[in-house]
């Protein structure tokens, strides 16, 4: 029992930045015409290590959660283990049949019916034809789509689409399951149902490696946590310890092992944040586009005069979504709640991070990248395909007049 099923030694992955296809041939030709000799020599490309010397062992039946900031290398590690990309150096051995789930609806085609897509997606994810036939009714029932299964999925609502896609994936029976962040889609109830199904998988003794930004999800599902930071393993151990260490490091504004400057002054400290209205459960998951109210709790030890307070919202890709600031902030000693209410916050579902800051006369008192991250789990009002949905998630009405 408890054999090693995944063993990785010194895995590294070097990516070339700006290796774009679009400037392909023309670019090559131009470079060649400008200076034929130089272009034939190996170009100096900007490179970076997405993963650097990662070794790990996963035992049979273990449920391992990978946590870390965006771009820390979690997904790269998962992509190497699922053989989508090859490592630059190092090696790994996997004993057993691997199923990977890096996207919801892998292989779905809009013109095909739900029935047809179930078979196609199932086959792409590694199921055999007979296996899909056997599980077909169960999949359709799980997705609650009995009536629409012969309808082309292009007529599905985004909710229906996600339900079917996940139902197919949830019925995979690999010995080792690699999952990346796919649960951050769909409405909150279906998320719970999927979590339940995932829990079943974990309890069934299968090995699971899970990447998630939702720390509570990691806590409830996995036994072991690995904190990946700047392409390396920063901490490996009991889930609760690793998640807590990660959380407190993030609370310190820690980046890459170095404590981020949260100001030398001890006059003010941000303590926590949460969604105040409507009181969601869990408190950092947004299940409605609005109206909502947020509060940031700040502790002030001596009075702040002529303060300057800023707030920003970033998405998964560190794109600034919204920013705002206020001058002439007066704060007495004590604990204060800085509250923001929004008629709506229509951003596409996914993980987001708030950052708040407080200055006094140009001097930084505290700047905090709020933790945990905010998970937006609203209904998707956009195109059901990722590549056709943008940063805003605005409900719309369509009519022809």
């Amino acid at each position: 029992m408890n054999n090693t099923v995944i063993q990785a030694e010194g895995l590294s992955k070097l990516y070339r930045r700006g290796l774009q296809v679009d400037d392909g041939l023309r670019h090559s030709l131009e470079a060649f015409l400008r200076s034929p000799v130089a272009s034939l020599r190996r170009k100096k490309e900007e490179t970076f290590w997405a993963l650097k010397d990662v070794s790990l062992e996963v035992r049979e039946g273990e449920v391992l959660g990978l946590i870390g900031r965006n771009g820390a290398g979690k997904t790269t590690l998962l992509k190497i283990l699922s053989r989508i990309t090859r490592p630059t150096t190092g090696w790994a051995e996997i004993h057993g049949r691997v199923g990977s789930l890096l996207e919801v609806g892998t292989g779905f085609h809009p013109e095909l019916t739900g029935h047809e897509n179930t078979f196609l997606s199932g086959a792409i994810l590694g199921m055999g034809k007979r296996e899909i036939e056997r599980k077909f009714d169960e999949i359709v029932a799980f997705a609650e789509l009995e009536k629409f299964i012969e309808t082309p999925v292009k007529y599905y609502s985004s909710g229906m689409y996600v339900r079917l896609a996940f139902a197919v994936a949830a019925h995979l029976e690999p010995e080792i399951l690699l999952v990346d962040e796919v649960l951050a889609v769909g409405d909150i109830n279906f998320q719970k149902k999927c979590l339940g199904k995932m829990g079943d998988v974990a309890r069934a003794g299968r090995t699971v490696v899970l990447v998630s930004h939702q720390l509570n999800q990691i806590r409830s599902l996995s036994h072991r946590g690995i904190w990946v930071d700047a392409g390396q393993i920063r901490m490996d151990g009991n889930t609760h310890e690793v998640v807590s260490a990660y959380e407190s490091a993030m609370a310190r504004g820690d980046t890459n092992g170095h404590s981020q400057d949260r100001g030398t002054a001890t006059k003010a400290r941000f303590l926590s944040w949460e969604i105040a209205e409507p009181r969601p459960e869990p408190p950092h998951t947004l299940a409605t586009v609005g109206p909502i109210e947020l509060k940031f709790v700040v502790q002030v030890t001596s009075a702040v005069h002529m303060g300057h307070h800023g707030v920003t919202l970033y998405n998964h890709d560190r794109q600034l979504i919204w920013g705002w600031a206020v001058d002439n902030v007066e704060l007495e000693p004590g604990v204060h709640e800085l509250r923001y209410s929004f008629p709506m916050l229509p951003v596409r579902p996914g993980p987001y991070s708030w950052a708040v800051s407080l200055y006094e006369e140009g001097q930084l008192l505290d700047a905090w990248e709020c933790l945990p991250e905010m998970i937006v789990a609203t209904e998707n009002f956009q195109h059901r395909y990722d590549h056709w949905s943008g940063v805003l998630n605005i409900p719309s009405k369509f009519s022809i007049t």
Binding site: A8, Y15, R16, L19, V21, D22, G24, L25, R26, S28, K79, I80, L81, S82, R83, I84, T85, R86, P87, T88, T89, G90, W91, A92, E93, I94, H95, G96, R97, V98, G99, S100, L102, E103, T106, G107, H109, E111, L112, E116, F119, L120, A123, I124, L125, G126, M127, G128, K129, R130, E131, P152, L172, E173, P174, E175, H387
Partner: protein
Amino acid sequence: MASLTESSVALPLHSGASATIRIEPPSGLFELRLREVWAYRELLYFFVWRDVKIRYKQTAIGVLWVVLQPVLNMLVFTLFFGRLAKLPSDGLPYPVFYFAALVPWTYFSYALQMTTNVVVDNQRLITKVYFPRLILPISAALSGLVDFSIGFVVLAIFTVAYGIRPTLAALWLPALLLLAVFTALGVGLWLSALNALYRDVKYVIPFLIQFWMFASPVAYPSSLVPPRWRWLYGLNPMAGVIDGFRWAITGRGHSPGLLLLASSAVVALIVLGGLFFFNRMESSVADRV
């Protein structure tokens, strides 16, 4: 050459046996994992099935297009190349002469187009799930065979309607078809890999196909080519295929014999080179597309 051991072959989930997968950096050597392609044959089937299903889903007359395309082409060819330009047809009625060439040619041009675009068209899939990438071009080259079969039945009826009885030469048809499939696959392997690197390839394809058609005996008989250039002509594998098709269907004219031998040798080289090139590209494709 990298040695191929049982353990380096990844199997799809359904194939009972649980093997050990070893993940290593690309070795720069030729790692042809045909055993793995075989293990994934069900997925290959599903890719072909998907292509065939999707193609006619939104069309009003659906499968009729399969018949109409070569028939309309045949009418145009008969009218312009035959009746107006009065090109020779080796004694065959023009419609049969052109149709016998257009059925394999339509398959080839379609398969080449599909194969070229298959990596780019499936880039989302490639970055999200593992399967031997080689099954993409293979499925693209095979999916045109459904159309071919329908076209072929029409061709057979047509030929008989013109009073031409099948001869033993027809036994060559499977071999000729195989040659066409491998030509499309071999060239497609090169082009699909190139297309993943340089999207310009997509724009070159229509010209390439047009040029190739005129370099093949589709609109004219190969007897029009001066004998001293024949050897060069034979380097075009489709010349052998199309000449062979006319001969196998009608039993008239000369068997393409030597021409076919040269064609097969060329195809073998193209396929081997294509496999090698595709293999090189494959290891980095998920990082590039």
